[in-house]
Amino acid sequence: MGPLIPNGIIPIEWDSIIAILIGIAFGFILESSGFSSSRKLAGVFYGYDFAVLKVFFTAGIVALIGIYYMDYLGFLDVAQLYVHPTYLWGAIIGGVIMGVGFVAGGFCPGTSLCAVAIGKIDAIIYVLGIMIGVFIFSEFYPLFDELYTGSFLGNITLVDSLGVSPYWLIFIFAIIAIIAFVVADFVGKKIKKVFY
């Protein structure tokens, strides 16, 4: 049956409308769980708040388990889902830049827009920085082209590259997540409470 739009159950014209609705819901939940505060987001790097780790890891596990159950029951075809292509070195370097920006600025791109929406000045500066970065990247694209499109590995997933059963991978991933939560709690208790 699913995915709904590629299989024509929902007409493709609804694509953007659904995206806007999901985006609004996502932004609302980010803001209401406090993710528009750069102090909370940066907390995961300094060890006084692990909400980011917990929320995104939980979301990942819930989605993973849910998708594979739906696939098992025939509601969704995993093989039809879009897998983002991997450009290895581009991803590594981009990830490092994004990580530095995350620690330094205290936002990831999504939460920064969320914080702009509630009028945080640091977030506005942050988004301006993103815009400048986008501008530089597009103006100097020929320089980055080789990095950007090089070391292309195709639309691969962990299941493809490790060659294990996806079900075992999910199980191991769930265990890793729970261990990470326990360790995060343990670290959180050791570190001096920061009021923010």
Binding site: T58, I61, I65, Y68, Y69, Y72, S165, Y167, W168, I170, F171, F173, A174, I175, A177, I178, F181
Partner: protein, 220 residues
Amino acid sequence: MINRNLVKVLSFRYPIIAAIFLILAGGLVLLPKYEKQKGIAPQELLNKSTSPERYISTDQLADIIINQDPSYIFVDVRDEESFNKYTLPNAVNIPLKQLFDEDLVMYLNQDQFDVVLFSNDNFYADQAWILCNRLKYKNLHVLKGGLNEWYNTIINPPFPNENMPAQDFELFSARKAASMYFGVAYPEQAKKEVKAPIKTAPKKIVPVKKKKKMPVEGGC
């Protein structure tokens, strides 16, 4: 008023969620695996097989060939020997055994042309049709009745009885015309040798003037 029992349960909320994750993820590992059916869903296959577009009649086919419609590919699924003996004009031979040969499959797995499958009957062509449809190939048709029907209707159309309706006679003449296109000769079409008239010297005709009867003159 605080519900103390609820508070007690909720203080374990993280271990409970963790346990749910483990149970669900473990469930995925332990669930019996089954081979997923690939290709189109049975319901869709059923719809396609009952669709009127599945079959193409010999009359339609003759029309397509005579009008040289470029959007059709004719695929003969019989073996090569039969193909060499007789086939439709411009047909491609893809024997059923070699249906999915890599260099032949491009005729079937495309969406620009309409493909007409045929064999002696429509039996093998139907099998090829089902197999290709399972693989989601598009625009496939089967020649209804196959080459036998083709022979019986187009190449050698039955002459209608005199008590049959006029449409049958029209159909017959259309089929007869089609068969002539495909090279069938009819006895009445064969030219009778007209004997050239032997030229003989024309007789000289000497007009003899008849004596005009004189009108009766006079009289008393």
